[in-house]
Point group: C3
Chain length 346, copies 3
């Protein structure tokens, strides 16, 4: 077993440590085509070079979540190979658009450690940053995972729990340089609803649903070079069905949200997110959104919406399922995701 | 429901109206690779830049049907979201090759309307045109669909039924500028049979068959940004299996037709087509062709064949199944497609 | 049936004959993305243009096995359409890296023929060479297949059995021009183990497993334009499940081998290989490797390892299953593959 990677255990992390992740990856038009084939995404900015140029960008950026999955996937062998649970995300920001031809790599800093009272696991907080080939940060986010200890008898480190923001402040959102929605072509984008038309508290059922397939979630997960065994090998789950990568559900729900949020062209931040129940092939996923907040940006034609994106399985979303009477997530809710998007203003 | 797209009903169309469809799409080498992965296509012209250059084109065009699906997919949210049935195609012409890097968008003109006698549905005829980024028309075709009325009580419009040609006249076929088959490399193309070798009335069994998979038809359909719910969500069909997009069967049958029509390099026109029975995952599809007509073109090295392409499921095609004794399409026939191809002449 | 390809029978081959295969194919970034989606490959050199440039190459080459499958796929209609069994590979060498934009075509020379004693089949040996658009040989290998005779009564040709090397001599391995691992970034590559760290006889369990899916193996096989019916149509196998293309298992096992051989960046030669049992959708594949030999190359920073790569199905590989007591391959072993890789030296 000397040459294979056993993954890191809780004892292997030190606060302040920097982890350089393998494998650098040049993203291409091939990734864009596969993303389009895997998710029902119709946002015009990531679909058309011409539309993107009319909005002030040099060409169509890669879908923001595709870039996120590439950056995230690199962290898996070092952060979550021995993870028991993916506990949360915070302070995720999209700092620069990613274009085909860019080469992405990821570095993480350990920003928190706390052993659990059972002595067998601990929580690890990391801040991960994806860089392009010019060493520019393109995406930065925090996540925390519960990781097994190698040895229950090993001493607990001094607990360090980072103070993470509940949401990215609107003032910290980055509008890509040059982005200008002042000449926005709404019919071509496929939605007549601008930033001005959404109200805080408004809820939208995205209506459409998609049944999940093994081949699709595995192809997606490998595309991000996330090779965590639970997604591919039933034996890794004692013969239970393969667990679908949570990011597959995020992208699917974001794609479904086009129907109602067709002008939400860019993801600017991830405030938080919970994979509240697992998904498997054969499940059918629906989604709904709630407008949590609205903000102007420094670019007059660009507004920001803070959205809650909820995915549910095997039941429609028209009644906006979220919580059960006991305050826990309701039966069927599989994703509760809090993020900022950028939209055109009138 | 104010933000989601309910689709158009019969009352929402006016003859002469122009509909600009979302979402513009830059097609790329990623689309070509996925098309190759999804269909058993081996036509050399769309496979090799070098072969295409030897035939006078600047590089390998995207497969004609891939371009057709992109153009068609854009019309779905506006034309067929509430369609009860896709009734037919006519007057489809391929006007310009589509190359990776081109950005396609689609505009439709409503050319006919006729309410059905039941008062609950009507037929809508549209002429749809796909344009590239230089506003050049690349594909134009007519189709007609049966669409639900929003309200059975709403008055019927004056019926307008367009006069559509039974087939595109050979003289209207467009041979791409520069195309020259005079130095055609038949061994490299994989077929020794030139235009001269086919006779009107000749029938060809394409022998090979492919069993359909959910992941494949859904990836294909999403690639064309056709997100009609019936293809993805069994609940949209009262729990029945997902309906496979008819264009998936056209491309599959065209791919199978390589075995017997290996030099039919380009699709020049779609004269008509009927999806005579639905297909589902688990069905195995076979195909056969009949030569309906032959024509010379203005380019001496290029001939045109008018072909009937018939796809059948769950039975071989060696006996050329087409009609039942009652004149209807025979059991197992799923596609009856009439089109023109361009081939090298000796 | 005159237009469809019946494939060649044993009588149709002549020793010394050269067969030009259809269909030339321009490989692209789309192929790279699909390869990444289909196989758990994380080797940095084929993943990142930047990493490849830091190793002296102009950009990231296409995965060597992807190039092999393209070259191999072209031979199928002429060599193995009527093959009863794929008997072996030998003397495979990777002569030049293949880059996106290259156009590949394949030519085979018949180098051996021997009728079997049953009079109904014979063995055909071919040496196949893949060329790029500059007519440079990129891959050359031998394989032999058992092919049906058209007519058992036809006379046997004079037997010619080529003398094939048991392994490519280390001195014949080609190190790509410019390749230089002297500044190799091991953390970025994801493995701390250099050529120097492997010992002949060492065995490595690659731990991870992948359950096979119909949609995945069919998409892979079509991507290489290998349309042999047994992979797509259960009726071609009397209703038995579709047979998975053996190359799919080679690529899967090679991808799994990253976990333990993460610096085995390039495949330099295929010494031999046997598909010892068929694979079907639903099987779960694991892999292990044995170091068979080590060699220096003319490039000081580059070492060569000769590896045995064994894939097994539906059982883990931790006990390195290979042979049964009777000397045959053990139950569950599906691939026994012998190849050379190039790795960085310390």
């Amino acid at each position: 077993m000397g040459k294979t990677d056993p993954g890191r255990f809780f004892e292997d992390y030190r606060v302040g440590e920097e982890i350089v992740h393998a494998t650098p990856r040049t993203v291409t038009e091939g990734d864009r085509a596969l993303y389009t084939a895997l998710y029902p995404s119709r946002f015009a900015l990531a679909s058309s070079d011409e539309f993107a140029r009319a909005c002030g960008l040099p060409r169509a950026p890669l879908d923001d979540l595709a870039a996120f999955h590439v950056v995230f996937g690199k962290t898996v062998p070092d952060i979550s190979l021995n993870a028991v649970a993916n506990l949360g995300y915070a302070e995720g920001r999209f700092l620069l658009p990613v274009y085909p031809g860019d080469t992405l790599s990821t570095v993480s800093e350990v920003i928190g450690l706390r052993e659990n009272s059972n002595g067998r696991t601990g929580v690890v907080w990391v801040r991960s940053t994806g860089y392009n080939q010019r060493a520019e940060a393109v995406i930065r986010y925090c996540r925390w995972v519960m990781v097994k200890k190698r040895d229950a008898a090993s001493p607990a480190p001094a607990p360090v729990v980072p103070d993470l923001a509940g949401a990215v402040p609107a003032g910290d959102l980055v509008v890509p340089a040059g982005l200008d929605f002042s000449g926005y072509d709404a019919p071509l984008a496929g939605s007549a609803h601008f930033w001005d038309d959404y109200a805080t508290g408004e809820r939208i059922d995205h209506v459409d649903g998609v049944m999940l397939e093994e081949a699709e979630h595995m192809m997606a997960t490998r595309l991000w070079q996330n090779t965590a065994r639970v997604h591919f090998d039933p034996a890794a789950r004692a013969g239970q069905p393969r667990l679908i990568y949570g990011g597959h559900i995020i992208s699917l729900a974001r794609g479904l949200s086009f129907n109602g949020l067709g002008n939400a062209q860019l993801v600017a931040a991830i405030n938080g997110g919970a994979h509240t129940a697992p998904c498997f092939a054969g499940d059918t996923v629906y989604a709904w959104s709630e407008v949590l907040d609205k903000a102007e940006t420094a670019t007059p034609s660009v507004g920001a919406l803070r959205l809650r994106l909820v995915a549910v399985k095997n039941r429609p979303a028209q009644d906006f399922p979220l919580r059960a009477p006991d305050g826990k997530h309701a039966e069927g809710v599989v994703l509760d995701f809090d993020y900022w998007v950028l939209m055109p203003r009138r």
